[in-house]
Symmetry: C2
């Protein structure tokens, strides 16, 4: 019996996955995390109105959701000052990024990102056979000039930029991105990942005409809106590109209760302001805890802080390992020299108390000579 | 400014979508459906335990779900008598079918289905550039012998078969499918869509070794489990094929509450039995209503009934149009001669009362000479 006949592209793909979930770590280590500070989730949760909407919608979970996302697009387009045709919803930003790559990248087509930037974007590019070109970070930030220059050099279909950046928390002012657009090569689409934009200072989101054909922006309800488990992200861009998503996307992929929940979340501006305050306070606390341990932190426009462990990647990995073993789930950048840092998400007071208790021990363990 | 550069495959794809949702019909017609009998949803809803699980999980919607679906796979594999590695979860059967096509079909690769079978499968094949070959129904059932013969003729990567069938409700006994497997061409994978299998008589699901490399089966929580809005489907097959999904799928696509809800649903066998009874009663009622109007029905192993309107497709379309205008949402087969039928989902008693009231009027309207 001959089984499935995979194309070469598929046969050659690695079996690795972009992220191992905290539950997998827990099962592997036989522990239960006491502080869940590794996935940049928003522990303060969604608007109470969103929770109410979820609860009400649960009773109608037997119905498919509206595949055109009409109500959501109406609300969001009014808020963004665009038309519903400028918006497409997907299964998180991950889903939207996958569709974008599928729409533009044929095997061998060039795509540019930063070395150490969001791995799920790179995962999609590799899985569609794109030729991925990576540019180093510069001063712990994605290097816009180098990214766009590389895009010109390789004739890239897409260049990826996160603002603010994950995993470093760095960001550009809107004017910097607006000015850089003049240097974006013809025929390269800027995929601007704004997953953390609601945490950033005013003046971070660039002012870009939704009909500008050069840019597509990605946002999510997973971070500031506190609904990572809902799996709702969206992209905003010019209608010819946004409309093309309808040619390939899974039209019935969105959970019905999630659709109701994020609509309510979107309408609760007061809660969003409250979240910004709480996250800001948690970030300050992480900086204090780091300082108590003689460590410095990078400035952050997100709901996490990159804590500089002061040595190389091996040291930071040892600290991370010790923290995880002590029930503190954190992650870290993949690439040197950014991998000298730990990436610690804004947690509750109780979780950060645990961090404060365990970090000195983890640092001490990591500093012991290997036996 | 040059915008995105689409590959030819994408540029040529139509903007049409597989299904227009009932909400879209409602907005277009400015009405609200009084009976929602068109999407084969399960109006009797999920297990009360599943609803409880959804409610409990809502509070943790700020967390991503476990991307490896560990608990779900453990429960399901024990029930199916396979290993967790034989199962992959996706965003409904729609999502799973899309991933299967992506894994196997390169532009130009042959795929076989029935003319009039599930359009979302065909949508995925077209969108990945596959060469779709369609075989006619035979006696209102998918024609296994003709499908497999066509697969041999065109050297198909995949042949699609739904058992029970949608939109006709017809089905094959397990032994028929088991016997037919001997004639499946080498290198063709049988995509066996069992979305409705829980409604079918005992002895409908074929006995196939999960490690048989020739077959991949698809099931869902959208139908008998009453959770269409949750978007949880799964595929069962040999580990080399199932494992390949992890190379390309959106690992974080599943809603967290949905994951908890379907796990509870899976464990409530008593509710599933209750649903079978209620759906059976509703099917009988649809047959009675049809008979009162002089119409016959096809036998059904699903939660819908194909009602033969007794004339051609134009007549059935006129009946459908009249029903929709009267607030009764139904759908119908796309292809002759199956399009002589309406496809009516098992509804509540109240909804079927509305059907009983409106069907004679719709038939009368459709019978009037056009003016």
């Amino acid at each position: 019996m001959i089984g499935p006949r995979f194309p070469d592209l598929i046969s050659r793909l690695p079996a690795t996955v972009p992220f191992v979930g905290p539950e997998e770590h827990e099962r592997a280590a036989g522990i239960r995390f006491r502080a869940r500070l590794g996935a940049n989730e928003n522990v303060f949760g969604p608007s109470p109105r969103a929770l109410e909407a979820l609860h009400s919608a649960d009773a109608e979970i037997w119905k498919y959701a509206d595949p055109s996302h009409f109500d959501l697009k109406a609300e969001l387009s009014a808020r963004l000052g665009c038309t519903p045709g400028n918006i497409v919803f997907g299964e998180g930003i991950d889903g939207c990024l996958g569709y974008l790559v599928r729409l533009l990248v044929e095997p061998g087509d060039a795509v540019v990102t930063s070395d150490g930037a969001y791995p799920t974007f790179s995962y999609h590019v590799n899985a569609y056979g794109g030729a991925l070109h990576k540019v180093p970070y510069r001063d712990d930030a994605e290097d816009i000039a180098a990214l766009f220059a590389k895009a010109a050099e390789v004739d890239a279909k897409i260049v990826y930029l996160a603002n603010p950046d994950n995993p470093m928390g760095s960001w550009y002012a809107s004017a910097d991105i607006e000015a850089a657009l003049d240097t974006l090569p013809d025929g390269t689409v800027l995929a601007l990942d704004e997953a953390y934009i609601e945490f950033a200072p005013e003046g971070t989101a660039p002012n870009i005409d939704p009909e500008d054909p050069r840019v597509i922006r990605f946002r999510t309800f997973s971070k500031a809106y506190g609904m990572a488990g809902a799996r709702v992200g969206y992209a905003v861009g010019a209608q010819p590109l946004i409309g093309a998503f309808d040619k390939v996307r899974n039209h019935f992929a969105m959970n019905r209760a999630a659709q109701a929940g994020v609509l309510a979340a979107l309408r609760d501006d007061a809660w969003l302001a409250e979240i910004r305050d709480r996250v800001g306070a948690a970030r300050s606390r992480i900086v204090e805890i780091a300082a108590e341990n003689g460590l410095s932190c990078l400035p952050s426009a997100t709901n996490f802080v990159a804590v500089d462990c002061g040595h190389d990647g091996d040291f930071a990995r040892a600290v991370l390992k010790a923290l995880v073993a002590r029930g503190v789930f954190v992650r870290m950048p993949f690439v040197a020299p950014q991998d000298r840092c730990l990436r610690i998400s804004a947690g509750t007071g109780a979780e950060l108390d645990i961090l404060a208790e365990e970090l000195p021990k983890a640092l001490a363990e990591a500093s012991e000579p290997a036996t």
